[in-house]
């Protein structure tokens, strides 16, 4: 009897111990995340100023800023969004609403799952061979944006499919019963109801694109750019110009990479400051995504 009691106590002790160990290991990652942010902040915060955002990179660490980097990041992201969103959402709609169950559909599905696992630098090599040298877009904003668009395409497709799948069939049937065609059903019912999920997926995809460095380095973005791309709007006819698509560029993560790789302490502080801005952008986008998901989930109840 005593023996059994001892054994039970022993087992219960381990069970209790594991609860603590499990909680602690869950916190390892969170503690690291917190340390990382605190470290970045203590190093970089003193460098953050209005001038830091409005200056070009420079040989002198104190005068260097991130103007060309953040402008470049925004423009590249614009190209990425314009390419990835329509393509990804359309592909998601097709696979969920139109595709019949056959070999080709299976192939497309496996292919998308596989694309999601391809390392980002391989997309860079693809863009280098295809966009830079085959289509001759050069080492331009267009090339960079398209490379990132291909990279996040699987994410956008998967997010679209998941949120479309959550819509109950009764909604579609009601629409068909009213005489609506397939596309009318998609346009007036399926798409509006899945907007929340689709938007969340798109924003998370874009937030990943903004932090991606490897593919952009591979397509040959420059690390030292002391000018801005051609402005898209001008005072002369025809007022709107797309020349900026073909301008050389740099982006935030590359600017940070460039500064980290230098041995001087002053440049590394600049890297930390750029890191804060980059983290801020990423966290902001993720925050917006979480908020949208939460809001739409509350609004729609089946």
């Amino acid at each position: 009897m005593e023996d059994i009691k001892k054994r039970i106590a022993h087992i219960k002790f381990w069970n209790g111990l594991f609860q603590v160990v499990g909680l602690l290991s869950t916190f390892v990652g969170l503690v690291l995340l917190f340390t990382l942010m605190a470290d970045l902040f203590t190093d970089g915060a003193p460098r953050l100023s209005y001038k830091f955002f409005t200056s070009f990179p420079s040989r002198f660490a104190e005068e260097a800023g991130i103007l060309s980097a953040w402008v470049g990041s925004c423009l590249v992201l614009l190209v990425t969004a314009c390419a990835a969103i329509p393509l990804g959402v359309a592909a998601g709609i097709y696979l969920e609403e139109y595709a019949s169950k056959n070999r080709l559909t299976d192939l497309i599905e496996i292919n998308i799952a596989n694309l999601a696992g391809v390392p980002s630098i391989v997309y860079g090599l693809l863009a280098l061979g295809l966009f830079v040298y085959f289509f001759e877009f050069g080492e331009s904003i267009l090339t960079g944006g398209l490379a990132l668009a291909l990279l996040i395409l699987p994410m956008v497709i998967m997010a679209t499919r998941e949120s479309i799948r959550a819509i109950p069939n009764s909604i579609r049937e009601a629409s068909y019963a009213m005489g609506a065609t397939k596309w009318q059903t998609v346009k007036w019912h399926v798409l509006p109801y899945s907007t929340g999920g689709v938007l969340t997926g798109i924003i998370i995809g874009l937030s990943r694109a903004i932090g991606e460095t490897a593919p952009i380095i591979t397509v040959g973005a420059l690390t030292f750019i002391a000018f801005l791309p051609t402005p898209p709007v001008s005072s002369d006819f025809p007022f709107i110009s797309f020349k900026w698509l073909f301008d050389p560029f740099t982006v935030m993560p590359i600017q940070m990479f460039n500064w980290v790789s230098r041995p001087q302490k002053e440049f590394q502080l600049n890297a930390a400051a750029a890191g804060i801005v980059l983290m801020g952008m990423t966290l902001l986008m993720n925050g917006v995504a979480i908020y949208i998901r939460y809001k739409f989930r509350k609004k729609i109840k089946w």
């Binding site: 069970n15 592909a91 799952a113 596989n114 596309w183 932090g211 979480i290």
Partner: protein, 296 residues
Amino acid sequence: MKKVTPQKVRERVIEAILFLSALSSILITVSIVFILCYESWGFFKEVSVIEFLTEKDWMPLFANPKFGILPLVMGTLLTTGIALIVALPLGILVAVYLSEYAPHKIREIIKPVLELLAAVPTVVYGYFALLFLTPILQKFLPDLSGFNALSPGVIMGIMIIPYVSSVSEDAMIAVPMHIREGSYAMGATKLQTAFKVVIPSAFSGIAAAFIIGISRAIGETMVVSIAAGGMPNLTLNPLESVQTLTAYIVQVSLGDVPHGTVEYRTIFAAGMTLFLMTLGFNIVGFWLRKRIREVY
């Protein structure tokens, strides 16, 4: 006879557009394979496959170039191995804790925060590995060089915890409740149930999670480019500086290598090696994940 109305035409056109969008994903894969094969073909016309696979030095930019991929593959495997030593145990513990122990509310809060670990730009992790973790590790390991495999490996490990934990957690949650209840009815504790019943039942899902983690770590670029150094080094010593396949591609891309030369093509040969390595792991992972769905 059926009449062709404008509406029917429109429906057809829209369906065709949507279909082409879905088909474009296959086009992407085809172009990746084509570009890698095409440029690697040019490379292997000048360098024999046997030299590529057996030579122990990788010095493509030297006057007397040597093209042995082994040091780069070894560098990749070394950093990946270190990352796995960190990520696998922690990922499993997190998954067991979240799926078996944590109350619903805590799980809802912790999961999105944990996912943030995967959202941090990798260049920031590189900064952290080089300028924060390496100096700290050097206090304990005086032999550690400024660039080393250990520090980026550890950081990469923590970075891939969310990938490992969320896929294994999904697999564990998919284990039906009645299997657990059977175990509890026999007097087992949660811990015993988790490790002797739930984990074995969810095994293929957990294996898939590991493989996703491995393939992430192999493809990771910026952390190793920044913190592991730039010298190809055939070693298994984590304290030394190594170069990975990905870091080599970055190093060459940063320089000014003219289009069409052997040096230019080396990055595609390295990319091809990388692509095949991750493809192999992805296929196994995909197959394992498909299996869990079939079991129950």
